[in-house]
């Protein structure tokens, strides 16, 4: 067990975003969190990464309670995340962006007088991460001028540059064309192997991606866990398919069942 949530509750006034969510993530798992809009997926990620404090419940990372300890300390313990909406430093070049993560991982942030650009450890590692994510040719571009997909990729790359043990990705492929989605996922999986990331947790809407990459799927609905299991099991769960995947998928599945019966 590397990350676990125990009975998490989060309310926004009357609205209950999380109503008692518990699960355990093991080493080596690729977990996808799915659910319709407003199911509490992003709230869950925000609670797990300490941006929000739960009203009730606890989060553990490697047997250590981390509930609400905040993103900065979490990143040092080995838990990183990327964001659903583009979250960048607009006036930075790609390389500078990645250097922020590397400087903080190497504990060099308090070097007040040493030259950043002459620090070959930092610049070298930043270039390596850029290469890993196919951003090396754009390394000197300002991040605000990058195309949308690259911005997203950079956000993810910066989280990887922290060399975390567990990474939480909030819709890494949203806003990206379908043809690019698989390419991004391949990059993510190979990069995580190279860096030595133990577990990946992602929120994802694209069911093709979810079913082809995940070891395990957690389905959320109205702040509660509807189902938790291997993709093969989830696929056969009619309730999940209908609430989470929507009517289109629902119709497809039912028609296939009808076909079988006929």
């Amino acid at each position: 067990m590397i990350l676990s949530a125990q009975d998490l509750h989060k309310h926004y006034g009357e609205f209950c975003a999380l109503g008692g969510v518990s699960f355990q993530i093991n080493e080596g798992e690729f977990v996808s969190i799915i659910g319709p809009n407003g199911a509490g997926k992003t709230t869950l990620i925000n609670v797990l990464t300490g941006l929000l404090k739960p009203n009730q419940g606890k989060v553990f990372f490697k047997d250590m309670e981390i509930t609400g300890i905040g993103p900065e300390r979490l990143s040092k313990l080995g838990l990183a995340r990327s964001f659903q909406l583009v979250n960048i430093f607009p006036n930075f070049t790609v390389l500078e962006f990645l250097m922020v993560a590397i400087v903080s991982r190497l504990g060099k942030g308090k070097n007040f007088f040493s030259s950043l650009l002459r620090d070959q450890e930092v610049t070298g590692e930043a270039l390596e991460v850029a290469k890993l994510f196919g951003l090396d040719e754009k390394k000197d571009m300002l991040t605000k001028n990058l195309p949308q997909g690259d911005k997203k990729m950079l956000d993810v790359a910066s989280a990887f540059a922290l060399h975390p043990e567990v990474i939480l990705l909030d819709e890494p492929t949203s806003g990206v064309s379908t043809s690019d989605k698989n390419k991004i996922m391949e990059t993510l999986v190979s990069a995580s192997k190279k860096i030595g990331i133990k577990s990946i947790i992602q929120v994802e809407h694209d069911m093709d991606i979810v079913f082809s990459y995940s070891d395990r799927i957690i389905a959320l609905h109205q702040g509660k866990i509807l189902a938790d299991g291997a993709p093969e099991k989830i696929e056969k769960d009619e309730e999940v398919v209908c609430t989470v995947l929507g009517q289109k998928e629902c119709f497809k599945i039912f028609s296939s069942i009808l076909n079988r019966e006929n």
């Binding site: 990143s75 607009p90 930075f92 910066s158 922290l162």
Partner: protein, 327 residues
């Protein structure tokens, strides 16, 4: 790594410009009148202050509206040491100013950096005004609104009491202040180009993301606050002998506003922007004040014009003109 030709030539061009400007400023008292050199001297003191101020404003994204407080700390330290304790060594004055201002900045900063934007600006303004009231009301200690006299300091242990005042100020004291300015600009340049500087810029651009990348936002803001406070104290301590008399107006909020104005006028996005703003401000103020008593009215107009038409300040206009010429 191979450095492209354009980069090296740009770098050497910059060094040549820096050397030429430095030599010009060093030799200025030789070929201008004492008054111009005197204005230049006050500019040096303000330059140190705004370079420090811009670490907080331009690089960390925190607008302090009470930064003159630390300038006053430096100036009053100089006054106390010279006229109450008979300590005349300028080096001692500078070191004590930095220590006092750093301690004060550490305490005030610890409270202020918990807030951002307008809340940070208002809190710093409040602290500045608190210090103003302190200086005004504890008159048996500070001389109240009369202020305190600053005696002529020794520079590097040399006593200049025989030299006429203006000759001292535009001679040895001018050179002394210029050298300290040059050293402090160099140190600030190192800070800006260090990993620490990168983290500050990250905080300015997007604190939430910086926090997720392991940058402890509040701590780094606090460091920046203390460093900029110490810079302002050096500026204030060097200004004090030049004006000869310190008074509570040094920490009044309009004086903090002057620092903000200089930085905006020159351009806070450029390292040298605040310096350009400082020099233009000081000479413009002198010119306009001699023409009309409504100089604040004209300065208000200029400020409005900058914010609307040229938010990058003078440095921003220059660099966009340079870019246009290139392309």
């Amino acid at each position: 790594m191979r450095i492209p030709w354009e980069v090296t030539s740009l770098k050497s061009f910059r060094i040549v410009v820096l050397v030429v400007v430095s030599l010009f400023l060093l030799g200025l008292p030789l070929f201008t009148g004492q008054f111009i050199s005197y204005l230049m001297l006050t500019f040096f003191a303000y330059a140190i202050t705004v370079v420090g101020f811009n670490l907080l404003f331009g690089y960390t994204g925190l607008l302090s509206f009470g930064h003159a407080l630390f300038m006053a700390v430096g100036a009053y330290t100089a006054a106390f040491l010279t006229s109450k304790f008979s300590v005349l060594y300028m080096e001692v004055i500078l070191i004590v100013s930095v220590i006092v201002a750093s301690i004060l900045a550490a305490l005030i900063g610890a409270i202020c950096v918990r807030y951002i934007k307008i809340y940070f600006a208002m809190l710093t303004l409040a602290f500045g005004m608190l210090f103003y009231t302190f200086l005004l009301k504890f008159y048996y200690l500070t001389g109240g609104d009369e202020g305190m006299r600053v005696l002529r300091p020794y520079l590097l242990g040399f006593n200049f009491s025989e030299v006429p005042k203006m000759q001292f100020l535009t001679g040895s004291y001018y050179l002394y202040t210029f050298v300290i300015l040059a050293i402090l600009i160099f140190i600030m340049w190192k800070i800006i180009s260090s990993p620490f500087g990168l983290c500050l810029k990250a905080i300015r651009d997007n604190p939430e993301k910086a926090e997720y990348l392991g940058v402890s936002v509040r701590k780094y803001r606090w460091y920046a606050f203390v460093i900029s406070g110490a810079y302002a104290a050096v500026g204030g301590a060097l200004l004090a002998p030049a004006i000869g008399q310190v008074d509570p107006g040094l920490t009044y909020w309009t004086h903090s506003g002057t620092l903000v104005f200089m930085t905006l006028l020159g351009g806070f996005e450029n390292f040298f922007g605040p310096l350009i703003g400082g020099i233009v401000y000081i000479f413009l103020q002198d010119k306009i004040m001699s023409l009309t008593t409504y100089w604040r009215f004209i300065f208000g107009g200029i400020l409005a014009f900058i914010v609307i038409a040229a938010p990058g300040g003078i440095a921003g206009v220059i660099s966009s003109l340079a870019k246009r010429r290139k392309s």
